[in-house]
């Protein structure tokens, strides 16, 4: 078996397919580095997202390998041999399954190396990654068996398209069963329950086994049993649905920097706290007496326990780190912009745009003379105005803002 397996791994389609699979995985990873490079949970979830494209490719490669014997006119010769069709099939299946898994692993490892340089919280969610690899194994099995049963040259591309559509379609359904599909968007701040990744991996492997068992005349009767096992294993995932994902309290715990105003980030991004805090404090320097800024802390946009905390949009650079330009802009906006729940009435449009001008001034600290609503004022007068306007803007009190602007 080992020698035959070696031949299959050297000569099967898998070894060649691994190159485009790595290329596809790399391209997907580079398309959205902000989603995964910043923290390990994002990395784990993004491996699943990659399967939306990688999965159909694996299906196509495996289908091509599955149809190989009939395409090459070898069925009759192979059928005259004594080895069981299942063992024969497993050796041929190994090529796409092993190489696709390795290719996926290479991309995951490269992404992990990038994430490791930036993420300061926790470690890689290995079980999530293994679940994604189990899905690759499943895609390979489904493709291989389909290629065996439908040894037509068009089977591989047709299956790839069908799989892509089927997986992508799950993104548009809210059925709990869709949580088994990589097409479902997971919330990057929520962690799965401990049982979730191993259970999904077991479901994927059971489906793979059910498919492969169909290829042996004697093992065929076991296929429904494997399928039943997959259905049973999937029940906790289906029942739990979204509930399997909860906020990781430890990850969301706040870590605060010294200084005023106080800037806090979640533990997940604690490594970026010094530079984010310095940026916020630099932008808001001189505005210490402005009501809402002085009294409140700053944090990340998706914090659940906001309370009196100002939420700060961190953005993300290509490495998933906080984008300091975005932080500067958002800190300026927080200082003085109107915070209204609904749309602003047209008569108050002047007050609305005036707060924009003041936010831009806070952010950019331009040299006088100033333009717009700040025209003709000195730096000290602008600071005084902003400190006066800030509390009214925070209350969305447009009349008060307008009154302050109109005052001599």
């Amino acid at each position: 078996m080992n020698r035959a397996l070696g031949i299959e791994l050297r000569r099967g389609v898998g070894v060649w397919a691994s190159v485009p699979l790595i290329a596809a995985g790399t391209a997907i990873a580079l398309a959205h580095p902000r989603d995964w490079a910043g923290d390990w949970l994002g990395w784990g979830y993004y491996l699943r997202i990659m399967l939306i494209v990688v999965g159909p490719l694996v299906v196509a490669v495996a289908a091509w390998q599955g149809g190989r014997e009939r395409r090459r006119g070898l069925v009759e010769l192979l059928d005259s041999t004594s080895l069981s069709p299942l063992r024969r099939s497993l050796a041929a299946y190994a090529s796409p399954a092993v190489w696709a898994s390795l290719a996926f692993g290479v991309v995951a490892a490269a992404m992990g190396a990038v994430t490791a340089t930036h993420s300061t919280y926790a470690g890689p969610p290995i079980l999530l990654a293994l679940s994604a690899v189990a899905a690759v194994v499943m895609f390979a099995a489904l493709g291989f068996v389909a290629g065996r049963l439908l040894p037509w040259r068009g089977t591989a591309p047709l299956l790839a398209i069908t799989t892509y559509v089927a997986v992508a379609a799950t993104a548009y359904t809210d059925a709990p069963a869709a949580y088994l599909s990589p097409g479902v968007q997971l919330f990057f701040s929520d962690s799965p329950a401990r049982w979730w990744a191993p259970t999904t991996a077991a479901v994927f492997l059971s489906v793979a086994a059910a498919a492969l068992l169909l290829l042996g005349p004697r093992s065929r009767w076991l296929s429904p049993a494997a399928l039943v096992l997959a259905v049973l294993l999937s029940q906790p995932v289906i029942r739990a649905g979204e509930d399997a994902f909860t906020v990781d309290a430890a990850a969301e715990a706040l870590v605060c920097a010294d200084g005023s105003p106080q800037v806090c980030l979640t533990q997940r991004h604690a490594g970026q706290l010094p530079e984010v805090a310095a940026t916020v404090q630099q932008v808001l320097a001189g505005l210490e007496v402005a009501g809402p800024i002085n009294e409140q802390r700053f944090g990340e946009e998706y914090l659940r326990e906001q309370g009196t905390l100002n939420t700060l949009y961190l953005g993300a650079d290509l490495n998933g780190q906080a984008d300091l330009e975005v932080v500067r802009e958002d800190a300026g906006n927080l200082a003085v912009q109107l915070r209204c729940d609904g749309p602003v009435d047209p008569p108050d449009d002047d007050a609305y745009s005036a707060t924009f001008d003041m936010a831009a001034w806070v952010r950019d600290r331009p040299e006088p003379p100033y333009s717009g609503v700040l025209q003709g004022r000195s730096e000290q007068e602008v600071l005084t105005l902003i400190k006066a306007v800030a509390p009214a803007a925070a209350r969305c009190d447009l009349k008060a803002v307008q009154g302050l602007l109109d005052a001599p």
Binding site: R3, R11, R68, E69, G73, L74, S80, S82, L83
Partner: protein, 246 residues
Amino acid sequence: MSVRVDGLSLAYRKTRVLDKLDLSLDGGVHGLLGPNGAGKTTLVRVLATVLPPHEGTVRLLGNDVTNRRERTELRRRLGYLPQQLGYFPGFTVREFVEYMAWLKEVPAARVPAAVDDALERVDLTERADSRMRTLSGGMLRRAGIAQAIVNNPELLLLDEPTAGLDPEQRVGFRALLRALGQESTVVVSTHLVEDVASACSGVVLLDAGQVQWTGTADQLAAAGVDGVGDTPSERGYLALLRGARA
């Protein structure tokens, strides 16, 4: 008896290809002769266990081909070269033969020596590491024979084995056939009467899905002294065929 066939019938849809065929073969090299459509290839495929008989019984090396366990046991002792040899073009010749040895469940420890021996017997040792896709038609045929004999089969089935071989290779192949016939039962389906005359100890003439005549190569040559044909064997073949159809 290596091959014992009783009342074998087989039809493709409504066309009966083998019609209550009886055949017994043991040891040596046996040539299956017959015109196109006589049922030679179908008979060889049944003997290779890739086609199940529709009627009748087929026992090979003492095993009933319709019994799964016996069929599996038989296949370990069987060598088969189909008329159209499929292959994996990316495999080397050695890998192809080695892979087939694995499929025939040759014990792992014996595989390297068995592969070397098979390649040497078909004179392909020098091309052992060439990819299958680079071989000429004759070499592919020899690679096909190598995979068929890699398990030292007790029953070797060769369907048109000399197709694509040049005269020198054909002469060498006949010598190989004779050598193989010393230790196993070899059934060669061919339309080349000269191959049968040179290499086969026994001859089976097939027509219309039935065995029309059996005998030795010498008896074949003697059967058509005054008939048409370029060689005694051809004359014998044609005379026997016409006699069967009369």
